[in-house]
């Protein structure tokens, strides 16, 4: 902070070439903003009235600058739009996204969100302020051009070096570059370095996002006590920082304090309830806690807020119905299925959710014959390759058991146990199913058979890798993958070990292909897993190093 400002001449920006998109639900504002942008010399301006229109526009014509109102009426809000655009890679890291907020309260929510816009404006603002903000962000993007270029080429090491260069030579962008570098280090799972970096920023000033970053690196290093302390403290300073509640709930879950996890999510939802994934998580945690009312509200909200969102899957309908079934509210279950019939019938996954849910409703209603009928339909879908999530498969096992198909039930439970050998919640649920059916001993045998083999192979593989014997570790873990073909933990361990092996011993096409396959499958099974992004980038780096260019999938 003691360096005086160095004057580096700003780059020239040709506004005439800039492609802009204005997103606002109010036509008067859209037109006023279009005129304002025209006065800046921008000639290519598209307009959108809501998130869906904006996504359509971006898909049909890429743009360089999006000016978006946070509040977009009934549909998704501006923050959700931003998350979806970035999540689906619809905009490049070079695209400028400026959020317009009506109140300075939202500004705090927006500015401290995990996926923050490049800048934000508080309404009402003058044309001069918009112009100078846009100019600053465009200049910053220019300064980060090399970082973005390396990121797009999946060359993270080079991107980190480019950040270092900015930190060294451009004091104006030092903190931005540190923030970027921190995220890259976390992606590469270099947590101790990231921890040092966040401490360095905090030493300058304890800004909330740096403290959140620190808490995340502590959590990733399993220092959950310290992470929780940091989070509770930063929430005193910045109570609107929703991302901190999300992380706090993760920390509480890994400390096995599910009640505190639920409390944290409830606080987050109270500040920003539109985020589908926060509602989904709240529903899951509340259901596990046996708080059915909260779970039902959360799952209902997730479906309402997430209408047309990419974050909604058939599992979300299954989750809501599961709560309604546990509440014994068969009428609500029928309602949910009826209202969403068309979207569920759209995909085999949705059809499986319908069949299993109907089966559960039938056995609650004592209609065993009907249950057997929908079970056949579910079985046919599974035979054709539709898996269903673990909860759904366990529900199906329950229906099988109630209708006397014991072998089929054991097979389903065993599959879930092999693929989720480390999920206590699922294993406990499986155990309960056997207890209810009066088959506790049989259940114990099925579960221990299923988990012990997988666990042993996995642990042996990890130990071998820690000793540096990557070749044997790869063989062990590939065997584990055969046993448990949908176990995300094991698949990710396998990918990690294969990449280590290739890194040390050089190219091996066949093993590289395994890594690609299991990484893709892990992504399908656990799309939100924090390790995925890092593994994907590590894979890209290895591919790049050995000069492999995968043919574009046209």
């Amino acid at each position: 902070m003691n360096q005086p400002s160095v004057q580096i001449k700003d780059a020239f920006i040709d506004y005439g070439e800039l492609r802009a998109l204005v997103v606002d639900d109010y036509p008067g504002m859209r037109n006023a903003l279009r005129l304002t942008l025209t006065n800046f010399g921008i000639r290519k301006i598209q307009l959108a009235g809501n998130a869906a229109e904006a996504i359509f526009q971006v898909k049909s014509k890429p743009c360089d600058f999006i000016l978006c109102d946070y509040n977009l009426g009934d549909g998704r809000d501006g923050q959700q739009l931003l998350e979806e655009l970035r999540h689906s890679n619809l905009i490049s890291p070079e695209t400028v996204f400026i959020m317009v907020t009506a109140e300075s309260f939202y500004e705090k929510v927006v500015a401290t969100a995990e996926l923050a816009p490049d800048d934000y404006m508080i309404k009402p603002f003058s044309a001069e302020v918009l112009h100078s903000r846009l100019e600053s962000v465009l200049q910053r993007k220019r300064a980060f051009h090399d970082v973005h270029r390396h990121l797009l080429a999946h060359n993270l090491e080079a991107a980190i070096l480019a950040c270092d260069e900015i930190i060294r030579s451009r004091p104006k962008y030092m903190v931005d570059a540190l923030r970027f570098k921190g995220e890259l280090l976390v992606t590469l799972e270099r947590f101790t370095e990231a921890e040092v970096l966040y401490q360095q920023i905090i030493k300058m000033r304890a800004i909330p996002w740096a403290r959140l970053g620190l808490a995340r690196t502590l959590h990733m290093q399993k220092k959950d006590e310290a992470a929780e302390e940091e989070l509770r403290d930063v929430l005193e300073q910045a109570p609107e920082m929703v991302a901190a509640y999300d992380l706090l709930s993760e920390v509480c879950l890994s400390k096995k304090d599910a009640a505190a996890a639920q409390a944290a999510l409830l606080q987050g939802v109270a500040i920003s309830g539109k985020t589908v994934r926060r509602q989904q998580k709240l529903g899951e945690v509340a259901l596990a806690n046996g708080d059915l009312d909260t779970a039902r509200t959360a799952f209902t909200h997730a479906l309402e807020k997430g209408r047309h969102s990419i974050f909604i899957t058939p599992s979300d309908f299954g989750n809501l119905c599961r709560v309604q079934l546990e509440q014994g509210d068969l009428k609500a279950v029928a309602d949910t299925l009826r209202k969403n019939k068309s979207s569920l019938q759209d995909s085999p996954e949705g059809q499986l959710v319908m069949a299993v849910t109907q089966g559960m409703a039938c056995i609650q209603d004592g209609k065993l014959q009907e249950a057997a009928k929908v079970l056949d339909a579910a079985g046919a879908l599974r035979a054709a390759g539709t898996r269903g999530d673990d909860q759904l498969v366990l529900d199906m096992a329950r229906v099988c058991m109630a209708t006397g198909r014991l072998d089929e039930a054991d097979g389903l439970v065993s599959e879930v146990a092999r693929n989720s050998h480390d999920s206590e919640a699922l294993l406990a649920k499986a155990k309960r199913i056997y207890e209810e059916a009066g088959r506790s001993d049989a259940g114990a045998a099925v579960l221990s058979d299923a988990t012990s083999g997988v666990r042993k192979l996995n642990n042996e593989g990890v130990v071998l890798a820690q000793r540096g014997d990557y070749q044997s570790a790869v063989e062990k873990l590939l065997t584990a993958c055969d046993e448990a073909p949908y176990n995300p933990r094991i698949m990710m361990n396998t990918v990690w070990v294969i990449l280590k092996y290739l890194d040390e011993s050089g190219m091996d096409e066949k093993r590289l292909e395994y890594a690609r396959h299991y990484l893709a499958e892990a992504g399908r099974q656990a799309p939100d897993h924090p390790r995925l992004a890092g593994l994907r980038l590590q894979l890209k780096e290895i591919e790049k190093r050995f000069g492999i260019q995968r043919a574009a999938q046209a």
């Binding site: 006023a32 508080i122 003058s126 001069e128 600053s136 104006k172 800004i207 996002w209």
Partner: protein
């Protein structure tokens, strides 16, 4: 959302503020003509509109402070961009009637930690005052003062009246309308910035005109 009485008025003010924002943007789009009478009227309308918006923002701010503790959103901002942004607004508001000067001292670091929106609101409010009273020039400065960032708005007006200087110096409110409200608001903003045991300050004095200075640790 539950609306008690004050909450209702706050929501109403919020709505009015946004409508005035649209009005201001509409006025911006009236082209200047070769007719001083026309241009002066447009300028006056524009300035008045921005002034009322500023006032409503302050009212909302005070409502929020009364409802909960003020948590400034501190982040790293470019000092150069901040001063530039303020001066651009000052130039636009003055519409060539006054000279706007900018001076960033070479000691000033490239970034400083502050709540940009609050600081800009306070500085723009000071600019509005100066626009009303300055004879010919407004000067915006960034300097270092005992390790703190000092952001100054200086004009060549008659200067602040004695009772205003006294009340800010002694931290006592003297009246809660007009200029006084804006200055109290600026003082609250400065004081909400603290770092390593030091608290921000609003300093007013007269030196060939009014000098408004935010000192930020």
């Amino acid at each position: 959302m539950k609306l008690d009485d004050t909450g209702f008025y706050a929501a109403l003010i919020h709505e009015l503020k946004n409508n005035l924002g649209l009005l201001a943007m509409t006025i911006d789009q009236i082209p200047a003509q070769n007719e001083p009478v026309h241009n002066e009227a447009v300028d006056a309308a524009r300035l008045l509109c921005q002034g009322v918006i500023g006032r409503l923002q302050q009212a909302l701010f005070i409502y929020k402070v009364s409802q909960q503790q003020m948590h400034p959103a501190i982040n790293a901002y470019s000092t150069q961009d901040l001063v530039h942004e303020i001066s651009e607004q000052a130039v636009a508001l003055s519409r060539g009637q006054l000279k706007i000067e900018v001076d960033i001292h070479p000691d000033v670091p490239a970034i400083w930690f502050l709540d940009r929106d609050l600081i800009e609101m306070a500085l723009i409010n000071a600019i509005h005052n100066s626009l009303a009273y300055a004879r010919s020039t407004i000067r915006i400065e960034a300097t270092m003062l005992d390790g703190c960032l000092a952001l100054t708005v200086r004009d060549d007006s008659e200067g602040y009246p004695e009772h205003v200087l006294n009340s800010v110096a002694t931290n006592t409110p003297y009246r809660s309308t007009g200029t006084g409200l804006g200055l109290q608001f600026a003082r609250l903003i400065a004081q909400s910035h603290d770092n390593q045991g030091r608290t921000g300050e609003l300093r007013l004095h007269n030196d060939q005109g009014a000098v408004f200075c935010l000192v930020l640790p």
